[in-house]
Subunit: 349 residues, 2 copies
């Protein structure tokens, strides 16, 4: 019985255009700190799980990028999907591969593009979940203690019964809520943000896949028997998240409340919140000049960005693209990406 | 007796950073239309004055640029100043050179960085001024009929007497006025914007230089006797504009009211006003994407500039510098240039 790590690195990250590009999505960016988010994610659990037990699922076009980012990992453990089919097929594929090597495997699944400030506490919780899964089985997730009524995340409700205060039973998953519902959930306590991080025994998980997503299970059997079938089989999988396809239905499902300084750094507004600010509340990554400006964020990959008399704005600059928006519009970057697609300017994406 | 043209092309144009750079100031930019402002200025009077009778005064570092822009001009007629000493020494130097070739010369002086939409009307007025100067002597300028109480320009007051309604006597020059005074002048009529364009016989002008700026006159005599003295003599000239140093004192001084679609394109705000706008009042030079944005101007030398939910902003983008400001701060671009100088980022200037 060994501990295995699966990192999901297939995101396309259009919300970070023009920093992210089709061939250089968010998980490969150094949004926070000096290393890529993928590498930081992997390093975070290095004391718990070694490279030989680490797998990455990504898009086929990104396999080379993953190798660059994680040069010490066995390259056979980087799974390149021919097309993206959301997280359930990704995790199921990795679980199949791992289970074939180690039927007793306990797997930890991490997205590759989140920030976690309190690494020690995070490792403590992961270790606790792994040990619990090893001894008692079951499915575990980490519930972020919500700091505000965020409408951009899914929530997890605990049901009050559990192994201990640290390991609560999950009552239900709640999809991204409207603001009123988010406020009520945060006020009530007992709700956590769904971090998309999971721990489970491979065997139990695959059993759940067999029951709840049988076409995925059968397809993965085919692929395992004959890997050349990947391109024929994988694209036929349904687009389904592991939350919706498996964990909403799997039992027993537990949540570990996690106060770990988590941030999904989901938009430029989130990134802006993480940057240190000067007395006028201006922040810069890269070279910026602020004249009579306030609450302005400059994120530059090269060009010097200068402001005169500007307020409440985020500016992202690269050598071939500049994006300007107030932080509250950070969710809408895809509208620009869409306009560039329609205008046949894919070379900029 | 011949007609000569002197184009002043020595400006440094920091107000157009980052489009303009130390080595590429405004007169060499294609701010309006597809050709440089210098070349457009020269082409405008081509039907009146040929290349053999055209001179350009510029900074020594820009002589090569002027040759690139005006390849058909005799290169000996590009005067490169070792340092800038404002317009009086520039024009006086050119007048000295021209007078030596043609003591009967009538000279037309034009700044190289203004826009004139009504070229035919402009040429008609220049021809009128030249003919008047040829037959009666005197100093002539073109007074722009003011469209609003601009505080960024000097004004010229007519005194009601003149050769004809089209050629008025100048009562006085008014320096850049405060707003109240500008409003009163525009309301009263009889005041014009000082366009910095002049027509005069070389001989009369040099006589005025001898009287009003004797140290310039004597210095230019020295330079003409021995051109190797240029570097020793020219830097000692006073910094003085031709308006202040000569024309405020020269007689008889005339103004030709000129309704010629003139714009000095002095700032990014002025440039923004000249660009065509879409239904949301957005304008672009270069590639821009507007999402839910209004009254926004993008001026790009390359990068695509995208806006989401932005209002009343001007953005200027090059590959190595981006500038963001509301139009009413366009006068303050120098503050950024100054900050970059102080931060030792001269390579960006």
């Amino acid at each position: 019985m060994a501990r295995w790590l699966v990192i999901l690195a297939g995101g396309r990250g259009e919300r970070f255009w023009p920093l992210s590009r089709m061939m250089h999505p968010k998980q490969f960016l150094s949004l926070v700190g000096s290393e890529s988010m993928l590498r930081t994610t992997r390093e975070r659990l290095k004391p718990l799980i070694d490279d030989a037990h680490t797998w990455v699922v990504t898009g086929r076009d990104y396999v080379g990028k993953v190798r660059e980012n994680l040069p010490l990992m066995p390259t056979s453990q980087i799974l390149g999907e021919p097309v993206g089919r959301n997280t359930a097929p990704s995790i199921a594929w990795a679980a199949f591969e791992i289970f074939a090597l180690d039927p007793e495997a306990v797997i930890t699944v991490l997205p590759s593009d989140h920030m976690i400030r309190r690494t020690d506490e995070f490792r403590r919780l992961v270790r606790m979940a792994i040990e619990q899964a090893e001894t008692h089985g079951g499915f575990y997730t980490f519930g972020i203690v919500p700091s505000h009524p965020e409408t951009g995340y899914g929530y997890i409700e605990q049901d009050g019964e559990g192994v201990s205060p640290a390991i609560q039973r999950v009552a239900r998953f709640v999809e991204k809520p409207p603001l009123e519902q988010a406020e009520a959930m945060v006020a009530s306590g007992g709700y956590y943000w769904n971090s998309g991080m999971f721990v489970f025994p491979a065997q139990e998980f695959l059993q759940a896949v067999k029951v709840h997503l049988p076409e995925v299970y059968q397809g993965l059997e085919l692929i395992q028997q004959d890997p050349s079938r990947l391109d024929a089989v994988f694209p036929r999988f349904p687009q389904v998240s592991v939350d919706h396809g498996i964990f909403e239905k799997a039992h027993p499902m537990y949540v570990l409340p996690a106060d770990i300084g988590w941030d999904d750094v989901g938009t430029f507004a989130a990134l802006a919140r993480l940057l240190p600010r000067n007395d006028e509340k201006n922040a810069a990554r890269g070279h910026a000049v602020f004249v009579d400006s306030e609450n302005v964020t400059a994120i530059s990959e090269g060009p010097v960005v200068s402001f005169i008399g500007v307020k409440d704005l985020v500016v992202v600059a690269t050598r071939d693209a500049v994006l300007i928006l107030p932080p509250e519009r950070a969710q809408d970057v895809r509208q620009v990406v869409q306009a560039l697609k329609e205008g046949r300017h894919e070379h900029l994406l």
